[in-house]
Symmetry: C4
Subunit: 386 residues, 4 copies
């Protein structure tokens, strides 16, 4: 009798909490570590990009982020292009109860995107910043791209939960190839999580690839859709595609790990897995003057028929400077993200991002290897023990 085998052929994948970096060579002073990275023709001061989420990026916070070397991306389907007055809506979200939150989100995001507000927001950002980055869902890109380019933006993130180049839709879908050829904007697209799709997307001419399906702190795709790929594996696979694409074409695409990054150690791991940059939401939503006012929510939440983000109370842990460049006043990985990355790179002997991508990774599930310590810490009423 034939024994079925599908069960035995399934591939084991890994999340950040299941891996760790293993120092196994020379070391380096953190001050000698270079964290610059490239996104298309631009060089970014740090590999940190702020997520295109209303709780993370507003026109005014973009300057504060830029001061710390972080590129903030404004969501063009967010509140800032639907309302003239956004602050009062952010306050409503802050004050909403858990029961009424999803309904409120569905109502707030039902207002139409106003193209004049799109231009206005971008121009405002341009006035105060050298680089302007915005995001849009694929189905709105064709209409918005001329306005975005005209208003002076540099980067356009074409972002949906899962992106493929062979989408079958009711309406004709976005032609990424054409967009990359004709637009003067630097195009970043995603999200994806596999080698094959990563390679297909890179062939369209994009400058950056967003990697990450389902792992975000404010994302419930895995519960609602059953869909999601643990981040360590997703980044490793897409980084292999980038390397293969570079071998074939000589062109290096920026792989951006997007989602599931909670503390500084996760940034270090993402880059060791092969990311050239990371896109983070919740760590920045914890800033004292973040737009989310102590809350963080997913951009799929407002879906009128199938909301699948959630709202998280993240509180406030310090200024953008403390969070991004320190000095740290907390010991739990929420402060001095760049300092932690440099120290980790020094520990792993990596002079720059590309060298860090070759760090030795081991499988070491936190919950298994630290179980007793964790339990003990809980018993003793400790804060955080890693």
């Amino acid at each position: 009798m034939n024994v079925p085998q599908r069960n035995d052929r399934l591939r084991r994948t890994y999340g950040f909490d299941e891996i760790s970096l293993s120092p196994n060579g020379q070391t380096l002073d953190p001050s000698l570590c270079d964290v610059k990275t490239n996104l298309g023709k631009y060089q970014l001061t740090t590999p940190i990009i702020a997520s295109a989420m209303d709780s993370v990026v507003s026109p005014s916070s973009i300057s504060q982020l830029a001061d710390e070397g972080v590129l903030g991306v404004l969501n063009l389907q967010g509140l800032w292009t639907r309302y003239e007055d956004v602050e009062s809506r952010l306050e409503d979200i802050q004050l909403a109860g858990d029961e009424s939150f999803v309904g409120l989100m569905q109502k707030l995001y039902a207002a139409p995107v106003q193209t004049d507000l799109v231009a206005k927001r971008i121009e405002k950002i341009k006035k105060n910043n050298k680089l302007v980055a915005v995001s849009s869902v694929p189905q709105e890109v064709e209409g918005l791209e001329p306005i975005i380019a005209e208003a002076g933006a540099n980067f356009l993130f074409v972002q949906s939960t899962v992106t493929s180049i062979k989408h079958t839709g009711v309406f004709p879908s976005l032609d990424l190839n054409k967009l990359c050829k004709t637009s003067k904007l630097t195009i970043i697209a995603g999200n994806c999580s596999s080698y094959k799709i990563a390679l297909e997307l890179m062939e369209t001419g994009i400058a950056g690839l967003l990697v990450g399906i389902g792992p975000g702190a404010a994302c419930t795709s895995r519960g609602v859709l059953g869909v999601g790929v643990p981040m360590a594996t997703a980044i490793m696979d897409c980084a292999e595609a980038r390397d293969e694409f570079e071998r074939q074409t000589g062109k290096r695409i920026c792989v951006i790990g997007d989602g599931g990054i909670v503390i500084s150690g996760d940034i270090c791991k993402a880059i060791a897995c092969g990311a050239d940059a990371v896109m983070i939401g919740s760590p920045l939503a914890k800033a004292k003057n973040a737009p989310g006012r102590g809350y963080h929510w997913g951009m799929a939440t407002p879906s009128p028929v199938l909301p699948r983000g959630t709202r998280i109370k993240v509180g406030s842990v310090g200024t953008y400077q403390q969070i991004i460049n320190g000095p740290a006043a907390f010991d739990n990985g929420c402060h001095n993200l760049i300092g932690a990355l440099k120290t980790s790179m020094g520990t792993m002997g990596a002079k720059n991002i590309v060298e860090m991508q070759k760090a030795e990774i081991i499988i070491a599930p936190t919950i298994l290897t630290e179980g007793k310590v964790y339990q003990q810490s809980q018993r003793l009423g400790m804060g955080s023990v890693k």
Copy 2:
């Protein structure tokens, strides 16, 4: 010295929480996804079947479920065939304390099944619905089948915890072969969880196979009997048997994943594992006007000598429409089960159920890959973070 090896030959099996779907091809608008499925000669609007449990299906709820495309199955060994007045008993169960619950169940289900009530209930359902489905334990089938058929039912679910075609009993056991040949009813049988038994059961002539031993939310078989097979593996194995049977005979049996389905993502996973339909209990017991009145209990609970179900307080999360077809007002997978399935199918590029059965599955244990996020969310007092 010979080293023993049984330990090393054990097969690793997987539950829903250990797998995830990995998008790796084209995508599709959810509105283009077709969720219809076949059960014998009938086509079902959706692949969702409501469990034959007293907390989930009553004669009147069957119409409400049918309005949403869900086939409700009435348990013929439940309260509705033992009592003329069932509502007062459901109220007793609702009001029972945790200590007295099992005793009450044992008493309530000790009343004999009345064959006139069997006919009466079926006729009532038939009056309001096109399709009537009922279930019975194997040992009562021979006596009840003529009454069931006469009363106008379409489907007979022959269901016990573990079914085999070679049962040795004190009394002669049900001849499934004969039943399938002689009955005009569409016969569905189970439960089973292995390739071999699935194949043997399919050869009897059944139209549908119930797959799932021990995983249900209200089932304690694994604790009491040590018996149970994680759902992802069980469905994958039985789906392979279905495919093999179809290769041999040209006949396609409907594999129904039954048990352990808690949120919409589980339905998506069950179908990706190979199920043609799912039978769900607790997600529907959460409907505002579900028979269980905010509670859900297993049908093995009333056993006079070895109760092994339990009662769960599931509360009420919305109407049947919200739960099954949305729009969703919650973001945790309890609303819009069909919308979530279609969105998941679109994400995986599956036009229909058969294509969804080929989706790429990965091993990604929730508790390991999301450990820190989960802990963090708990610390921050969040609701649900997936």
Copy 3:
């Protein structure tokens, strides 16, 4: 450079919570399942033996256990041979605070064993029971054996945490070979957990082998000593040794799974792993009139220099009859242990203990496969969900 490999050669072992039984053949009415087992020349009504622990077995409880088919073993280094009046000491233990418990135990068990009490206790038990079983640590066996035999006992359990036949001690150690040859008592020895030691112990002439190191509910060996072998693997390995010994000699030794058995499903699993019988403590300490009065403690606890048992509040869940033979009033595996075993055997198509030892076992870690359900149940405030 040579890469070290010890890490990669380590063997993965399994506990009860990591395995499950997978029905994969015919089924059987539970009433047709025979649970009798053999221990030396004696046949036991059920495969359940009550642990030689003061919280589980007293001279008077032995009769009550025997009425239910369970063989109770009196610990000859327990309170009953140290004190004339034991009940007041049991009350002291019951009333001790968590802080003072270990000190009290050390004091209570510092009193010397009185050989006249040994004889007296055995004679008392003999008066009311057909079979008398007692236990002793190896170093006391030589002195006590004549008294035990003279007083009319049938079984002598020679039991220590870890037993080998090549012990190097300050004083000459027990010669098991000689004991088995010269004593008219049926000798059971242990504990052990490996194929090699099991085989060596069987060659001494023992009738039964106790298998289990470190897994007991009241045992802290794993934390204190770092020593312990998960039960499923330990039983599987020793059962292979038993089969090998039977092939070589034609003699079948009774393998007794001892420790880590908490609910009825664990008994089913232990036997499926290859055990001929199980020795259980905590499930019986929960009886209304168990000697422990709602508490359970390990027999290594009183060690004057290195206590490594603990005291557990187990409460009271019912009578010996409810716990052992039902009918069950709870659905969580604490009632009707034998009924559950028979139902499990019927489910697995096993007519007797030897057939049950061939049941299909799968790896299915409870915490991984049932994670979400468990979390959900916690959120909903449920009691126990399996």
Copy 4:
């Protein structure tokens, strides 16, 4: 299409909580087990070394530790070389709130190390003890070594989070080869966690190697930097390097497991993994008169820019004698560490440390194999169940 494989090539590593010792041979009376070990030309009474942390070792506690056979190491970058009056600073730390703790640490440790205090502390210790051990970070060693040697110390621990022999720094880095050749002190260096680095460090001429990156109870490296290697694997790998080095040179280096040791069972496991000694912090910080006054904190905590230790309230569980040599009054592995080690060695049939290093190790994750028991214990409100 090439399938990426980095994910599949990752190495699985293990922490103490994932392994267990499996008795599989002869046994031995604990009183016959010899726990002495060698560190360079010195023989240590026990394999326990107290961590160079201000919460664990002070000049006066060194004598108390020595009375119990434990070598205490004074941290020369700790409070004792920065302040004349240390006790008032320890009190400040004790009284600090969770919010202000990191800031206080940063301030306290900003004071400069005074070389006259270095000499004074060592001389004071020398007066009362035969052996004096101190530690320093690599960058301060060159300046301090003459003072340390002159003051009469025996051991110098050159210790940083991650040590390599090929460090690239802003300033010239320590030449370990030269230090080992020219200093009359016995040099111990670390920390490291891999076979390759261990071998390179041994070739410099050190007498002892500190093994352990990231696992300590008061260390948050894994969360902040993403860096850390589970202890069981780290020790196994470095012990293989030691054996290889001994084969090549005939010289045996002392491998010291440093970090992640919480209870006595962990010491037994560390040695079974191949350690010749262990360095422990939190178990000794629990002593009634430990310098930390009921608290324990990491020495990386005071970092002005990236603190990555934490403060843990460990409370007080007994005297140094109870903790190290017993007798134990608790059953959870916090008392009688040496008694537990000897008993474990007896159980494993190991006459000395070198034999214990060959004990059979199995993979048996605590959280998986004991899940149900643990949950049950929690439900029942038990203290600790192992």
